[in-house]
Assembly symmetry: C2
């Protein structure tokens, strides 16, 4: 039995990740691949409990950047060991809505935590690199307008536009530094076209291996 | 206005920390020193929420050692910045029931997380060293018997005796490495004698400065 593959989906607020998760699921199912969908922070009962605490709007203006970084990695350490690594070892593919690149973007770019600090945590808390990362790219204003139209905002969505600009710059830097792993998808397009683009990229990647 | 002093109290389960916290408070009050009592993990609403999650018996056998270490430091990063550092800057003394030495003992000695990993976290997440640390020393069996007689057990108290032996060894190593900061108090004695010993040590330290 061969090891499963680890695919992550990244992007700022309102990039359309939920729709794309469904497209990825349909594409893998079509190819008869056994897979699991998960998300970060979260993915296990304990990691979801940490997520609820980390994103609770009640801590807005209270939670320190260091606290947030440590909470996100606490959830990730649990998720990787309890769920992602066992699934991959059992031959299943894992598709995660966000993973460590999101920490470089949000806690790094957004909150100003040094990249070396994040890299050090990654090395021992979550030493598992995705095989493929899809980055949904949408201008910050368009993404925020979509996210806000959905209603209630969590602690991240409440941040100012400059915060989300820094998140996007950090995402682009991550993608530029590892072009072999990243595929950037233009998410300004209508949903049907984004879906088609994701399906094409994914099938091409599966078939190339 | 001079900076307040930071005193921490350490020791395994059932060492009698609660009683000693009261003795420290009484001694500082007697000298007219303005102080705050706090504890770790915890000490602020957010840090207490992290504590509740970290110690919940529901995660026994589920929570990974890396997750526990990151949660404890998340609570500590918050506690140091939101409460301890501001109080010290305002000239108040802070007395904490446990602090970073407890991570070297529990997450390091107990759970086997490398000391260098803990030291790296300490450096950026909680860069504040206590001025004085009182270590209550009691044999593991005696301490556990006391703790268990109190009733309900949290996730740490449920650990096997060998776990608590490793905790104690790690505490002793910390004390041996920094004799200028540590005072070891023999906590096998009856409560009144422990209280008297703590009061004497504390007054001697206050007057020496």
């Amino acid at each position: 039995m061969s090891r499963g593959r680890f695919i992550t989906l990244e992007g700022g607020e309102g990039a359309g990740k939920s729709t794309v998760m469904a497209v990825i699921a349909a594409t893998l199912a079509e190819r008869g691949i056994a897979f699991e969908l998960t998300r970060e922070p979260g993915g296990t009962p304990l990691a979801e409990a940490i997520r609820a605490l980390a994103l609770d709007p009640r801590w807005s203006g209270v939670m320190q950047a260091e606290t947030e970084l440590l909470l996100v990695f606490a959830a990730r350490a649990q998720h990787v060991r309890e769920r992602v690594a066992p699934a991959l070892a059992a031959g299943r593919w894992v598709v995660s809505d966000r993973y460590t690149d999101a920490s470089y973007a949000y806690q790094g770019g957004g909150r100003g935590q040094p990249a070396e600090r994040i890299a050090a945590l990654e090395q021992w808390a979550a030493p598992l690199t995705p095989d493929l990362t899809l980055l949904l790219d949408v201008p910050v204003e368009q993404g925020l307008a979509r996210a806000f139209s959905r209603g209630e905002r969590d602690r991240m969505e409440r941040e100012q536009a400059e915060f989300h600009e820094r998140v996007q710059v950090a995402y682009h830097a991550r993608a530029a530094a590892d072009p072999a792993r990243f595929r950037i998808v233009d998410a300004r397009q209508p949903q049907a076209q984004v879906a088609a683009a994701v399906r094409t990229e994914l099938l091409r990647w599966i078939d190339a291996a």
